[in-house]
Amino acid sequence: MGMLRVSGVTKIYPGHSDADEPVRALDGVSFTVKDDEFCSIVGHSGCGKTTLLNIMAGFDEATEGSITLDGRSTDTPGWERAMIFQDYALFPWHTVLGNVSFGLEMKKVPKQERRAIAMRHIQLVGLGGFENRFPHQLSGGMRQRVAIARALAVEPHALLMDEPFAALDAQNRSMLQDEMVRIFMEERKTMVLVTHSIEEAVKLSDRIIVMTRRPGRVKADIEVALPRPRSEDDPQFVALKARIRDLIHDEFDLADVPAAAAAAAQRAAA
């Protein structure tokens, strides 16, 4: 379970007024995430990667094209596509246990089972013993672990992550990335990660989608076959990182060429 097919997705936001040009955020994006595959989407900020994730989650809809999970359209949110947010989005009035149980309650899992399932996922993310704490009593890294446990507990067919580690400090970020590798190996499922960190993408993914700048298009669809856990010093790791960086930077330069040329012309004239 968990084949995610993105086909010809275009997203156009209307301008704020009639004078404003409509903004084309995504333009004919197509790719497929296989069952149990870890896929990262990387690109500049503003390349529409979060928009794409929101359409996958059902929070937003495509202007053209469609996204399906196991053949079913993703136009409304549902537990099959649980999401992890950059700001954790934990319910502050619930304990860790209450947060992780929330989705199970929504799925109408019987009460006794709920507790057992929630506890297993709290253990999985390494928070055993903290189940009765409230989110405000936890550090940022721990809060994101709770959010991961909460999303995994409903056993989604695909797990969607929107820059989940971006708000953490460097140490916590790298620790949670390693944790994510371990969790992925233990709880195999389709995962989609939106990130601006190339290193994060290479460390975690089976597939990396590199997006162009606005409008967002698929620039490269790269399969990563390196064995896990991956070492950042491995030459293949380093080479892949460099390749993706070039793909993104190349994009950056291209986008700035007209502006740079104009600036140079102006300088020459002056």
């Binding site: 059902g58 537990w79 649980a82 989005a89 319910f91 009035w93 929330f102 989110p135 999303a151």
Partner: protein, 282 residues
């Protein structure tokens, strides 16, 4: 430089080489200062009423009895049960009116959640809201007579609008990602509204309850002054007609203390029930 270098050596020679980080205990002046104002206030009052006024005109004392006489009157009213009786009458009206006014919570939730409903109802409430509850008293007396219900109606108006406004604002301020998180965990519209939006708005709703009860308490006294036969408001209005200024003052002080107690009580309850919101607003 070693890590153990005396930190305080420069500022206080001879204090040894352990840095002194003990908090300074408050000085005598610090401790006494808050009370001096009160002592001066009551002392001055006593002096004016018991010594100055009788010298000018003995009848003036009737208008401003000294604190000692007010205390005596308070004791008398406590002993014969009058104070408790009127206090409970007022408190009961406030409580009943609050029960009526709590319809503002579901209405506010619905208005905050359904944009259309807010568009529809906002003009009506915005038109009614600036009318002070007290301005309704003449009409309310004609409608309901001199009765508990008339009083409750006035208090209801005082509580309703602050509660409604705060509930709507609470719903509007709910973190959008909390709603998204709930939806992608399988929550339907009703579950989102009840299990997420309502909970998340609760701190602001409690603020609305506090403001509302405060406004309601003020409206209560006004309503009782003119349209009741019991209650603290009636107590002071009745004492005026028999020139018992000591009882008026007891009544005024009781109204103040009761209002403060209601607010403090509510704060304590909120602290207990919503420990997370305090941590968030800190």
């Amino acid at each position: 430089m070693s890590a153990g270098a005396p930190v305080s050596a420069g500022s206080s020679p001879g204090s040894g080489d352990r840095p002194r980080i003990r908090r300074k205990s408050p000085s005598l002046v610090d401790r006494v200062a808050p009370y001096t104002g009160l002592v001066l206030f009551f002392g001055g009052w006593q002096a004016v009423s018991a010594w100055l006024l009788p010298r000018i005109d003995p009848n003036l004392v009737t208008l401003m009895p000294p604190p000692t006489e007010v205390l005596q009157a308070a004791w008398e009213l406590i002993r014969n049960g009058q104070l408790a009786k009127h206090f409970w009458a007022s408190l009961q009206r406030e409580a009943v009116a609050f029960l009526y006014a709590s319809v503002a919570i579901p209405i506010g939730l619905a208005m905050g959640w359904f944009r259309r409903l807010q568009q529809m109802l906002d003009p009506v409430f915005e038109m009614l809201r600036p009318i002070p509850p007290i301005a309704w008293i003449p009409l309310a007396i004609l409608w309901f007579g001199i009765s508990d219900f008339q009083n409750q109606f006035i208090i209801f108006l005082g509580i309703f609008f602050p509660l409604l406004l705060n509930t709507v604002a609470g719903v509007k301020n709910v973190e959008p990602n909390l709603i998204r998180a709930a939806r992608c965990l399988g929550a339907n519209q009703f579950a989102v509204l009840w299990k997420v939006v309502f909970r998340a708005a609760l701190p602001q709703i409690v603020t609305g309850v506090r403001v509302g009860l405060g406004v309601g308490w003020m409206a209560l006294v006004a309503a009782e002054l003119v349209g009741a036969t019991s209650g603290l408001g009636w107590l002071i209005s009745d004492a005026r007609s028999v020139l018992r200024t000591d009882i008026i003052l007891v009544g005024m002080i009781s109204i103040g203390i009761a209002g403060l107690a209601i607010d403090q009580g509510l704060r304590m309850v909120a602290k207990r029930l919503l420990p997370w919101s305090l941590a968030m607003t800190k």
